[in-house]
Symmetry: C2
Subunit: 576 residues, 2 copies
């Protein structure tokens, strides 16, 4: 049996390695158009930042090591240019000193793992040599070369995962960095009220963010250095190499541009042979990674997957799913996939480090739920990542969305520690179809250095239970104008907190005084509903319970002022 | 309605606070025999170590703060001495300047949260003033006082969670520390092959461990200092205060002893009124925390819970479950417990820091599974806690047990980073009834600083899948003698690794050479089975697949030499 794998990075190489472990006698050929296989593409930004100083660290395997350990026939520099489905052959070309050579390889099973390609929006000047991408080892080499050559400033187009990592890397290397995104905030898949925390962290580290604006054109304004050659004039007087014009009229000068506005499935080969594609061009596969051709499987960023929460079908370019898809494709080719091991919906669990902050997410964002028309509630909590009395507790900002029947739909977290852990727990809960009751009862490892007896995940579950059973009614930052207009805002923080900044027209009654001052609140409300809040939502929850049991129409601001101020960073508070 | 809560720490205070949030008009009285309520008992060892320098940090709430925020009537120093079930009254005594006063309080609902008491084994001398326990704020005060008074050495009896934390704390304060446990290894609930890693860490930090031995007697050998008064003579010449004699004849000299051999339910009050108790004395409760008396609920360390994996019923003294039980008792009293919110089986998820190491566990240990007669497999993996190419990757040691039908049964992890996260994920998987197929497919947050595209949890799942479908056969450290006796040990590590220490009689064929040297292996086996291994089990897995597909009887050492050497710390290897 001959298995041919097209693409030798995450999904493709997983397929080839697993196939060898299952079938010692198969002939397994991996055709990779690039120079490298099985490299650590997720590590590239950290090589640019010099956090991973040695380039070798990224080259996890070589064709030689894969031959030695797994008897794989790995051919780099081989681009597949044609597939003959009837004859079951692939045609690959590669360049040798003697010229371009063509190889025709028959296959019994073909695995397509072509990955994704950088989206190139219609921006004039994208072909300038100062415009870089960040997908491959040569991309990282190129960026390191211009840094070594003295680049002082960069514009990063796109503030998604890669864009954030690249912006951090370049800033860490001392460059002036402007980060641009068309979306209303950085890291578009993140909920607004968490993304603003990342924005503040970026700005605190000197990255200038520009959101809700498009890059329109890039013009060369200075000379380009050839690699290894110094540009004249040197030093601070040297003009920046390019100017990037934004849709709001801003002109950004920089020595280089990194284009990271997203990727699209690189499915041109699959399209050329008529394989079924989903909207957006991703290759359609079944639960065994098989395409519409029974002899062809596909894995990784080029394939369409079903979102486990929204049911949306499309590409989800993540390394974890790609690796498991590769493993599954090999199992399928070799007849080893039981129904239990077929592909499942994807949650899109992801995490990114932005200087000192971590942002992590799983399942559907609030925006995705709104767009999919899925009824949901959301709760916001801000607990410490471990016991508050233990030194070094860092505040977590955790949102959790769930259906009216209690089923978990998504969760996101931002914080300086422990965010990835809580999202991994909630990703597991989501995969299991857990409800908020299940989440409230989760028994997580607790000792003071690691968590709390009521873990942040449990806390989110408790709040969600209270919402569903009516113990707690919430209001949200989106309701602010209506609340200011037609309700009494009751601020139950301390007098000092109130004085440091409060909502216009708010009445301050510290939660410890509320029982004695109910008449005063009732008089101030004068028939209007009471909308209560504190800093994080806990003291005001206590107040809310007092108010509703006193017969008042009350609701509590979800996540308190922490969430409100993050959702409305420009909100002006009254100081007195 | 009057709710009386007996015991004002974790479970009791959770019940009182939740009851108030649900019932503004209830009268809620908390009777606590100690001086403090709602204190951070899990933080006590870190106050002894001075990691939490301020004692106030541990006092999370006071009667005054609970009155102000929650209108609770909290009475410290009140010991309940009698309960009249027919009259529905409790009698409490407390000492005032005017003498002992008695209060009789009627109740509509009574919540018992008496907690646990230190087990006091029959060791002569336990009543000496140099013998301390570690359960309360005064206990911590007492230890800090003897440290301030110049104590130089300690014997800690019991190497469970608290014993380990106390040993670490005292060593951190500069004392000579001997740590004694009757069990064959420290942290008895941990699997042997992980516990030895903790033992090594303790020894590396200068704690002398003594396992498999009992303390038999404690004798005073020096003067006892009164608090705040210095003992004469001072300094290094001062004789140690006590001698602890062990069952192996060892005599340990020390200035103080900490007794931490475990706790038992403090259910004497429940017993005195005839409430149903489980074996071991824990109070029997139903899914709503109700005892055999319909007007009495019980929560926390004194209650019996069902182990979710083994079905065993008994006390599980952990803060997380206690808090949730308290919340549930209040819900039950106020008619708010739906079937979905009834008590579930407990997993016993726990974690402890031992100097630089973390040990965490969930579900049943291998020993618990054996004792319960539950058929199971176990796998061992040793992946990095994040991507290996990213700086600072720390090796995790992860074991996972599962039933022949794939259902997860337990997991444990030891490592310098990331152990708590993986056990939290697996605790969630366990709570959901997940199988190893589910675990293999978990979609966890990956970026190089946080994990790997194939997370350690996924890796354990992959290995388990391979075991269940026959792709992988394992052998274990317990099989070593039989293997050495009747099989060919095939060591597929590199020549250098082999030379640095290998099993007697092992044949070294690096895994990259195996395909070319199969005849040599076959000849050496000479009809015997081949038992292959490498350092961690991965290279030897590749070798195992080659061997079985070449028709040989092969099995791979689970977890490789890392697991074998941890399971057999005294194993002598051949160096050449």
């Amino acid at each position: 049996m001959r298995i041919v794998v097209v693409g030798g990075v995450a999904g493709g190489m997983s397929a080839a390695a697993r196939a060898r472990r299952l079938a010692e006698d198969a002939e397994i050929v991996v055709l990779e158009r690039g120079e490298f296989v099985s490299f650590a593409n997720c590590g590239l930004p950290y090589h640019v930042s010099d956090e991973i100083p040695r380039r070798d660290s990224l080259l996890v395997q070589t064709p030689e090591s894969l031959r030695a350990a797994l008897n794989l026939d790995v051919r780099t520099g081989h681009e597949v240019v044609a597939i003959d489905r009837d004859a079951r052959t692939v045609t690959a070309v590669h360049t040798t000193p003697a010229g371009v050579q063509e190889t025709v390889l028959p296959y019994d099973a073909l695995v397509l793992a072509p990955g994704a390609a950088t989206v190139r929006p219609p921006i004039a000047g994208l072909d300038l040599p100062q415009v870089h991408t960040m997908r491959t080892v040569p991309d990282a080499d190129g960026l390191r070369a211009v840094l070594a050559d003295g680049a002082r400033s960069a514009v990063v187009l796109g503030a998604g995962f890669i864009g954030l990592e690249v912006a951090e890397a370049l800033r860490t290397r001392g460059l002036e960095v402007d980060l641009v995104d068309l979306a209303p905030h950085v890291l578009p898949p993140l909920d607004d009220e968490l993304a603003s925390l990342l924005d503040a962290e970026l700005r605190a580290h000197g990255v200038r963010t520009h959101v809700g604006v498009a890059a329109e054109a890039i013009h060369a304004t200075g000379p380009v250095a050839a690699e290894g050659e110094s540009t004249e004039p040197e030093g601070a007087d040297r003009p920046a190499a390019v100017e990037v014009r934004l849709s709001d009229g801003t002109a950004l000068s920089a020595d280089l541009v990194v284009l990271s506005v997203g990727v699209r499935p690189d499915s041109h080969l699959a399209a050329s042979i008529g394989l079924e594609l989903a909207a957006g061009g991703a290759i359609v596969v079944d639960g065994q990674q098989r395409t519409s051709d029974p002899h062809i499987w596909a894995v990784g960023d080029a394939t369409a997957v079903r979102n486990a929460v929204t049911g949306a079908v499309g590409p989800v370019p993540l390394a974890g799913p790609a690796n498991r898809q590769g493993r599954r494709a090999a199992d399928a080719i070799l007849g080893r996939v039981t129904p239990e091991r077929e592909a499942r919906g994807v949650l899109g669990t992801a995490v990114v480090r932005v200087f000192g902050l971590t942002a992590a997410m799983t399942g559907a964002s609030q925006r995705a739920l709104q767009q999919a028309g899925i009824a949901h509630h959301v709760v916001h909590v801000h607990p410490g990542h471990h016991a508050g009395y233990f030194p070094g507790a860092e505040q977590l900002h955790l949102t959790m969305s769930f259906a009216p029947d209690g089923r978990l739909l998504g969760a996101q977290a931002v914080g300086r520690a422990g965010a990835d852990k809580r999202i991994d727990v909630l990703a597991t809960a989501l995969a299991a179809g857990m409800t908020v009751d299940d989440v409230a009862e989760l028994e997580l490892a607790y000792a003071p250095p690691y968590g709390s007896a009521k873990d942040p995940v449990n806390m989110a579950g408790f709040v969600a239970q209270n919402v569903l059973d009516g113990t707690l009614a919430l209001w949200y930052p989106a309701d602010l104008e209506k609340v200011l207009d037609s309700a009494l805002v009751l601020d139950v923080r301390s007098r000092g907190e109130f004085a440091s900044g409060h909502l216009p027209g708010a009445l301050n009654v510290p939660h410890t005084e509320l029982r004695d001052r109910l008449d005063e609140v009732r008089a101030a409300a004068d028939g209007r509903p009471v909308r209560v809040h504190c800093a994080s939502g806990f003291r005001s929850y206590l107040a809310h319970r007092v108010l509703v049991q006193a017969g008042m129409d009350s609701a509590n601001l979800s996540g308190g002022m922490l969430t409100l101020r993050a959702a409305r960073p420009d909100l002006e508070l009254v100081r007195a």
